[in-house]
Symmetry: C2
Subunit: 423 residues, 2 copies
């Protein structure tokens, strides 16, 4: 690779709001999305909420000349909704489905059925290895009383760990997607601090688009105005995040968002705004001056966010165990009731009532059994994330004590520790 | 690192058969396992089927002086059963839970509730990065009519992909565990061909233990003799697999197995045999002569096993879809029946019968709904593995056409391809 190597990457990201039968003007919006992608010719278009595989196939046919490589990430009952279109050949792809993703009995929210995941693409561009990730985390339905907060924090952690472990040989890491997290939310900070990813909106000097970079704005006719009431400019929950790992330097030349309207026909492409970033990758000098943000201050931020996430997960574990215990008691009571009903049915008297009550009791028993199993599994999943987090926290603290001037994301590779992992 | 660098690694692997209340002499066997591990002082002990976290905690207390680092991998409802004890500090750990792992309604087999997974540990030993993986795949209950074959092939593929994507910066890769696969089974060949891992049993010149390296032998009093009837020496389903990646050379100096008895007290440690390997890692010369097995012959083996796995997964997808469709019809009929019952109940006449039948009908409907959702999810999971496999197959074929003398496991990193991925 030449020392004056320079690569320009044009990236597109959109949560397409493509729910069959429910999302308004879906066919028309998908058609116009295809037109836009063909016209603009991005290097990589990463899409979320393409719930119908037929929509993906139609887009694929339309985009084939300009984006010869494409992939749809399948998971869960409905799908992950994630897909990508690439101008360049995709070398490898795989995916990781999040262990926790809401509750099956919250049917009206539907997230559990989707199999939310992170998709990974490996691309080789002029000798440079690019790991591009696309994801969509659990939705936030009620910010004041967010029952999914713990799951979203656990997902952010799994996402950060997946990126951390799969990008060790990548030169450039790119993450796009709908994180369903505001920039200062715990999950977002955890992800950025642990992976070292930078936010294109904060890094670019040339931003054009919605106020404060919001990706759900009140101007968008598909957005519920009531939900955005506390946020006059809207909310920023879709991101382009990136970092260069080894000997490379990456910057965001321009970042554009749509502003609630399609520039041509007037109706927006989705209820979310699209992000369009132009990134520039260059060689960094061998002895690159360390970034002043990669010092003790950043490590201390990492420790603080790890602690916060640990506390959140710990609360989640306790709550999951409470539900499992409660379901356990219901199972016990249900079994007692069944035995009583069997005795009554055998003994005559209120026989008919007993027979009538028998099946609902079995139903309650089975339901409580399912709730028990689900929350046991939830507790295990949260405990797993908590244990991983605690290990990283321990190592970060050691590094802090030793006053190492290391990049947090590299902490684990630089210090050995003698003690066993805390449980 | 010195040019004459050499590292000896002593590895222990055992499927501990630690099912609370069901496995015979569990407490005693766990105690003796602890004694053995303390006495022998391995670098790394990787255990499967430690289903009770209390067993892990007891072992941990006992092994703390000799193995200061330990981790228990939590997942599913019951757990993954996986844990590790290490003489050296564990730098990082994470895990991947397999997307498909049997059927929830096969309660008597129980695998679905376990959350079978692969655990990853990153260790830094004298400057060398070791990625150690421990896993346990879905059990095989009936070799003649194996309903879990497709799931096990999908698990083997996910395992291979997880290793492939997370070990790119590792110097040495080690995989231990109970694969529930015979050496020539599709899943085992797929795993070895795609990751490039070598089998310690085949590689070592110094093997002592059971006939043909079997890890479930008829001499073991805990093993069902009936199940082993077709295999007079037993079966080999537990493995120590390894490879060195970059500039290192790894060999297996010795491999030992237990032989159905504990050398001291006479009763075995588990229904599986333990594997004890001594590995030696050395620097390889910068221009190491290419291994003659890494040529076109190996690529052709890879292509052949990928095709075979693709066919198996394709059958699995078709079957999963058939079940989902069948459940869909049952749902339709159930809804019709419910409507009929409601009409009868309202109209009098056979009112009591209608009311009596109402709840079982709802039960059938809910059951069919669950079966539908499960198999839809199964079809998605299998399609995902099939798509990844097809992509790799396409690239391997291209490499073959170009006559590249590349290592199959590195194929993806060496060739660009212009076409889109086939769906």
């Amino acid at each position: 690779m030449k020392p004056n190597f320079s690569l320009r990457l044009r990236i597109f990201n959109l949560n397409c709001w493509g729910i069959p039968y429910l999302s308004k003007h879906r066919g028309d919006r998908m058609k116009r999305l295809g037109d836009l992608l063909n016209m603009e010719s991005f290097d990589l278009a990463l899409l979320e909420e393409v719930w119908s595989e037929q929509d993906f196939q139609r887009l694929r046919q339309k985009l084939l000349p300009a984006y010869p490589a494409a992939h749809y990430f399948r998971s869960g009952v409905i799908g992950s909704g994630l897909c990508v279109f690439s101008k360049h050949p995709i070398q490898e792809f795989t995916q990781h489905v999040y262990t926790l993703n809401g509750y099956p009995y919250m049917i009206h929210h539907g997230d559990w059925f989707c199999g939310k995941a992170v998709g990974l693409l490996v691309l080789h561009l002029s000798g440079l290895v690019l790991n591009a990730y696309v994801t969509h985390l659990h939705a936030e339905y009620n910010r004041q009383k967010d029952v999914y907060l713990t799951h979203r924090v656990a997902q952010a952690w799994e996402l950060a760990q997946f990126i951390h472990h799969t990008s060790k040989k990548a030169d450039v890491v790119l993450l796009c997607g709908d994180l369903n997290l505001h920039p200062k939310d715990l999950g977002c900070r955890l992800l950025k601090e642990w992976t070292g990813l930078h936010d294109a909106y904060h890094e670019t000097r040339d931003f054009k688009g919605s106020e404060e970079g919001c990706t759900m704005v009140p101007e968008n006719c598909y957005v519920s105005q009531r939900e955005l009431e506390p946020f006059p400019f809207g909310i920023r929950i879709d991101y382009v995040l990136y970092k260069a790992v080894s000997g490379f330097y990456i910057s965001c030349k321009t970042l554009r968002t749509t502003t609630g309207h399609d520039p041509h026909s007037g109706t927006p492409l989705s209820d979310h705004e699209a992000l369009m970033a132009t990134l520039c990758v260059r060689h960094s000098p061998p002895q690159h001056t360390p970034d002043p943000t990669q010092g003790p201050a950043e490590r201390s931020r990492l420790i603080s966010v790890l602690k916060e996430a640990w506390t959140e997960l710990d609360l989640g574990v306790a709550q999951a165990r409470w539900w499992a215990t409660f379901a356990g008691y219901v199972i016990g009571l249900g079994l007692l009731l069944l035995a009583l009903l069997c005795a009554l049915a055998a003994g005559g008297g209120v026989r008919e009532v007993a027979i009538l009550l028998w099946t609902p009791s079995v139903g309650v028993l089975l339901g409580a059994g399912a709730v028990y199993l689900f929350h046991m599994q939830e507790a295990k999943g949260l405990s797993r994330a908590r244990a991983e987090l605690q290990h990283v926290l321990g190592r970060a603290r050691e590094a802090q004590d030793l006053g190492l001037e290391s990049q947090p994301a590299l902490l684990l590779g630089q210090q050995e520790r003698d003690g066993g992992e805390e449980q």
